[in-house]
């Protein structure tokens, strides 16, 4: 395992300590579980809170997106492991400004069970909670079972859009509705070139030959839907776009944002090479690209690979996507 760390057990705690130390204007640790990050300056009273949670190892997801116009708090687990229900309940309490809290997170068994249990816990605190699950990974279930899909990089759009709606002062029902609309508008697919290592497991989650790629893998090193030979950038991008557009066809006049995301090790140089094909395909379908995102937005530590996410926009989603936001990893406006 070639990682820079002290003890595997300390990986997440030390990472969070460093995050808060480096960016005290953005983040603070909340509560005493040591695993809840909240905005350094809480949102104003009466603002709907937005909370997320999930495993570590995906920076900027999840904790990184705590910030103005984004999330209020986040419960963070071990690498690739859900936080506990107790931690989630703490995060919900940190996010609450008296107007209720939206739980906005990826569709994973452990997270769902724990966020459900956390909801029971905060019932005693009289905090109204709603839930929107991100389930954007087209590789993880056919369209008929779209609700079973995993949540991957599409959560970046959902955080941004829901965060802007909450910042604007909308109420819990309205923030929840637009978050659901954003979640429904996203489709993602990923490809991995190399695995990553969970510090405590001590070895890579999967093995892959020097000339192979894994299409449709998840962001926790879950195997993909097929494994094949490494192809040209154009061929990889074309297949990924085929899969996305088959699931969510676009027509002339559609407006769409696209996220070309590195899973970690893949450098921005390669993302820009891919972006040429992405742009040509979207414009070829007659769509207009709005605020394309190219970079590392949702990662799996040092995994090499990329994901593409499409987010189809109506006027409301587009305005919220372009509204200001600010965290240590992303600024708009």
């Amino acid at each position: 395992m070639k990682k820079i760390l002290n003890a595997p057990e300390a990986y997440v705690d030390e990472m969070l300590a460093g995050l808060v130390a480096a960016h005290p204007d953005y983040y603070r640790l909340h509560g005493d579980t040591g695993k809840v990050i909240a905005r350094a300056t809480p949102g104003r009273a009466g603002k709907v809170g937005i909370v997320t949670g999930g495993g570590s190892g995906h920076l900027p997801v999840f904790t990184g997106y705590v910030g103005t116009g984004l999330l209020d708090a986040c419960a963070i687990g071990d690498v690739f492991a859900s936080p506990s229900a107790e931690q989630m309940a703490d995060a919900i309490r940190a996010a609450d400004q008296g107007a209720g809290v939206l739980r906005l997170y990826g569709n994973y068994g452990g997270d769902v069970m724990n966020f459900d249990m956390a909801g029971d816990l905060v019932d005693f605190d009289d905090i109204a909670c709603s839930t929107v699950l991100l389930a954007d990974d087209v590789a993880s279930a056919p369209p008929e079972e779209a609700e079973k899909r995993r949540g991957v990089a599409g959560m970046v759009y959902a955080f941004k859009i829901a965060g802007a709606a909450a910042e604007e002062g909308r109420d819990l029902a309205a923030v929840t509705a637009v978050a659901q609309k954003a979640a429904d508008a996203c489709r993602s697919v990923g490809v991995a070139l190399s695995p990553c290592t969970v510090p405590q497991a001590g070895k890579p989650t999967f093995e892959i030959a020097e000339d192979e790629i894994e299409m449709g893998m998840g962001i926790h090193g879950e195997p993909g839907v097929w494994r094949g030979k490494l192809q040209s950038a154009d061929a990889i991008a074309a297949e990924m776009m085929d899969r996305l557009l088959a699931d969510m066809p676009l027509k002339a006049g559609d407006r769409v944002s696209v996220l070309v995301n590195s899973l970690g090790a893949t450098p921005p140089e390669e993302l820009y090479i891919l972006y040429n094909v992405v742009k040509a395909r979207l414009e070829g379908a007659g769509a207009t690209i709005v605020m394309p995102l190219v970079g590392r937005y949702a990662t799996s530590m040092e995994m090499a690979g990329v994901s593409f996410t499409l987010c189809k926009l109506d006027a409301e989603l587009e305005a919220l996507l372009q509204a200001p936001c600010d965290c240590a990893f992303w600024r708009v406006g």
Partner: protein
């Protein structure tokens, strides 16, 4: 012979050792169809329990509750959360008692299975840990002799693995791989086989 605090502590020690031993096995079983963390979940959870094992209360309900809480804090993975729910269910069932009889095992396991099902919303027969628990509950039903209960439980978890191996996964991360899961043990069932045999002291 009944089950009391000392028996619980001994079972915890065996289980912790078994999970250390099976660390890589469970990680790779989970890695084939999931995220490869099941060994991590189990060793972390057992460490958390072992840390509390010396000062467990005599009340088996409170003791199991302490175990469940320790486990829960250590991880929020699907399996860890389900197991904690199962322990919590058993804890409720034996609250206030300092001893339980072998004859009660079947009912306790069945209750755990049901509450875990309510939390995870999976079907019985879906090739998950629920099926291992279901097999144990059925195989131990009506048995009163401690050794017989232990034998039956240990056989049931292995039989369940055999019975489900050729089926498709229907839940969790492994569901995505449909056909690829055929011929492979469900990692949660495999883990439950190791757990049950360690607790029943029927290893090897």
């Amino acid at each position: 012979m009944t089950i009391d605090r000392a028996a619980l502590q001994a079972a915890i020690a065996r289980l912790a050792a078994a999970m250390e031993r099976d660390f890589d096995l469970l990680n790779s079983a989970d890695g084939a169809l999931g995220d490869g963390d099941l060994g991590v979940t189990m060793t972390r959870g057992m460490h958390a329990i072992v840390d509390r094992a010396d000062d467990l209360p005599d009340d088996l309900g409170l003791a199991l509750l302490a175990c469940a809480q320790a486990f829960t804090k250590s991880s929020g993975s699907s399996y860890g959360t389900l197991l904690a729910k199962g322990m919590m269910t058993m804890a409720k069932g034996v609250k206030g008692r300092t001893e339980i009889a072998a004859a009660e095992v079947s009912g306790l396991v069945a209750a755990a299975r049901d509450q875990m099902q309510a939390l995870g919303k999976a079907e019985i027969g879906g090739k998950t840990v629920l099926d291992s628990l279901d097999a144990v509950a059925q195989a131990t039903a009506g048995k009163t002799d401690p050794a017989e209960v232990a034998d039956a439980a240990a056989r049931a978890v292995d039989d369940a693995l055999d019975a489900f191996r050729e089926r498709k996964a229907t839940i969790g991360r492994a569901r995505i791989f449909g056909d690829k899961s055929v011929g492979r043990d469900d990692p949660g069932m495999l883990a439950m086989a190791r757990i049950v045999k360690a607790v029943a002291d029927r290893e090897g």
